[in-house]
């Protein structure tokens, strides 16, 4: 009784936070996005902030097709693309977006040693030049690939890495981020804005959704959890996978065993709707056929060690299920949690026999090339094959036959194997109309600018 009275006293004594304006979309970041920076900014939350406050040259629609954004039109030319910029695109200081801004952004990402690694990987050796509203993009990558990767690089004003031309402006105030719609923007945002708080704790986020303080939220990955009455559940099939990398000392037999176990190790009752066992070697959602890894007769060793990043309770549960499945085949799968920084350090130095990371692929087949290319962002263990080089040069088109040959080559001695396909599960206020997308609700074009409140 005394405790209850004390708690009630606490509630009376503590004041509420400032209530944000009505009809703003109330959202939660899972981590601090850091300062808005179109050159150095990295991470999912930072990319959401950039998608709201910036415009890429070419966007991707909800169906993953290239659509005009800053570029009103484009033409494929030998060595790249020629684009014509919109004449009504303006930065937040009202200055027009020109070819000089495009060239500066791409050059800054290439030259700055602290620039976003994701954007560097998306741009490769691409160079921009031009004048006024005409931009020439030149590089070694095929135009079809460029068109599916340019969405990752919103354009900043020359010399101002924190200023974009997007449909919303950002105001950070202490612990809150407010994105306000820009009335004259060419995407014509139909919501007044979005208001984000930082809610990394699952239980806190769940309570906030149940109290009606969030319009959109990521629920904890517990099977059987139902959204509150005012919200509906949205499941987006993303291109994210939980992938196990193999290092020195692991045998093809271990990979084949993992490929066998993944099929029945993860019962739906344990995983919920956000996860499904992966098939094949590369994401089947990108059109790749299902291939078995490393054909051969070597048997799986009796004991395997699988490292993962500590502190992720969902991942731990999944790997425990995998270990239980391995035990049924008489294999001891030892799970080794490591701090995230130490994990990556050991993985890249070849000190882990098996290591698990979640990777999000881009919606184009070229995103798997990170596994194969020297210095690729997924090539942690230095995978190489002399037969791969000539095939890599023939991947100008998503339907090129070289893809099949390349996948067969990878399947002979793969360095990685997906265990699970991840879906994005969101709870959304029933009154808000938005379009699900493989890129997530923010990254596609028009993204949040296309949302509207149902009257």
């Amino acid at each position: 009784m005394k405790k209850t009275l004390l708690l009630l006293g606490l509630v009376v004594a503590t004041g509420p936070a400032q209530t944000p304006p009505a009809r703003m979309v109330q959202e939660a970041f899972l981590a601090d996005p850091g300062p808005l920076d179109f050159v150095r900014g990295e991470g999912q939350e930072q990319f959401i902030a950039q998608a709201l406050t910036g415009d890429a040259l070419v966007g991707l629609s909800a169906e993953n097709r290239p659509v005009p954004r800053l570029a009103a039109s484009w033409k494929v030319v030998p060595g790249g693309l020629d684009l014509k910029l919109r004449d009504d695109a303006r930065f937040t200081d009202a200055s027009p977006v020109t070819a000089a801004d495009v060239a500066w952004t791409l050059q800054a990402i290439e030259a700055d040693p602290q620039a976003s690694a994701t954007k560097r990987a998306a741009l490769g050796d691409l160079k921009a030049s031009g004048e006024g509203l005409r931009v020439a993009l030149r590089g070694s990558r095929p135009a079809a690939r460029l068109l599916t990767e340019l969405w990752r690089v919103p354009i900043a004003k020359a010399g101002h890495g924190d200023m974009g031309s997007g449909p919303f402006t950002l105001l950070r105030s202490g612990t809150e981020w407010t994105f306000t719609a820009r009335p004259g923007h060419f995407l014509h945002p139909r919501i007044p804005g979005l208001h984000f708080r930082l809610l990394p704790d699952e239980a806190g986020r769940l309570l906030a959704m149940r109290k009606g303080w969030l319009t959109i939220g990521v629920p904890p990955p517990q099977p059987g959890l139902a959204p509150p009455s005012g919200m509906t559940e949205l499941v987006q099939p993303t291109l994210a996978q939980l992938v196990v990398w193999t290092g020195p000392g692991s045998t093809p037999g271990a990979l084949r065993a993992l490929a066998k176990w993944r099929g029945d190790a993860f019962p739906p009752a344990l995983m919920g709707r956000a996860y499904a066992p992966a098939k094949g070697l590369w994401p089947t959602a990108l059109g790749f056929p299902e291939l078995d890894p490393a054909p051969g007769k070597e048997i799986c060793p009796a004991s395997l060690e699988l490292a993962y990043t500590a502190g992720d309770s969902v991942l731990e549960r999944q790997l425990q299920a995998l270990a239980a499945r391995a035990a049924r085949d008489g294999v001891t799968l030892k799970l080794r949690p490591l701090e995230a920084g130490l994990f990556l350090d050991q993985l890249t130095k070849g000190r882990l026999a098996l290591g698990v990371i979640t990777n999000v692929f881009d919606p184009g087949p070229w995103s798997v090339l990170g596994y194969l290319e020297q210095g690729g962002d997924l090539n942690f263990t230095g995978w190489a094959d002399p037969e791969a080089l000539p095939l890599l040069a023939k991947l100008g088109d998503p339907k090129s036959p070289a893809w099949k040959e390349l996948q067969a080559l990878w399947a002979r001695h793969p360095a990685a194997l997906p265990l699970l396909d991840l879906h994005s599960v969101l709870w959304v206020d029933r009154r808000l109309e938005l379009q699900p997308c493989a890129l997530g609700i923010y990254m596609a074009t028009p993204g949040a600018a296309g949302w509207r409140w149902r009257e």
Binding site: L10, A17, E42, G43, T175, E339, L342, D345
Partner: protein, 212 residues
Amino acid sequence: MRLLPGLALWTAALASAWSLPGHLWHPAQPPPFPLHALLLAALALVAMASLPPALVFLAGPSLARRRVLSALEAPPDLVWALLLLAIWPADAGPPGWSAWTAVLLAASVPGEARWLASALPVEMPFPHAWGPEATRASRFRSLRRLVPRWLAARLPIWLTASLVAERVLGLPGLGSDWMARMEGRDHAGLAVWILAFALLWIAARPLEKAPA
């Protein structure tokens, strides 16, 4: 603790922060320092530094054996934060910084009071037999020696308690900043944190000297 060994320890901590091993896959920029939380943290620190000693001064070493203190001390920080969030009226909107202070105090004061009360010397038969004035003087002298060491030892623990409240209530402050710099391998930011702790320790040393 003597100055030189203490300084050596802090220097080693500083070197560890600066050379923290490992790197991130996609390193992100560290978040800006939460300046907005400094004043609130200072006020909460004053409350945390004064409430338990005041309670112990009034109640004496017997406070360590009170059942009510055990009952209040038992729930972890997370439970206090979630409990407050659960009973918070939905119409009132998300709770603010005053709620964070309340959670921090509710989660920490009982445990801190017990810690201090347990460390006090026994008062029976003396100084109890010499009267209340002698007892109060004894408690005051003991607390004067204890409090600086207690503060230096408990600050990192309070920072952790603050982190829990910040995460659950969605109010990033100093605890989140410390954790974000650790996770993001912000060596310079971590070193500044360690330096701040070291300076606090150095500033608290004169208070440890026994009264003449």
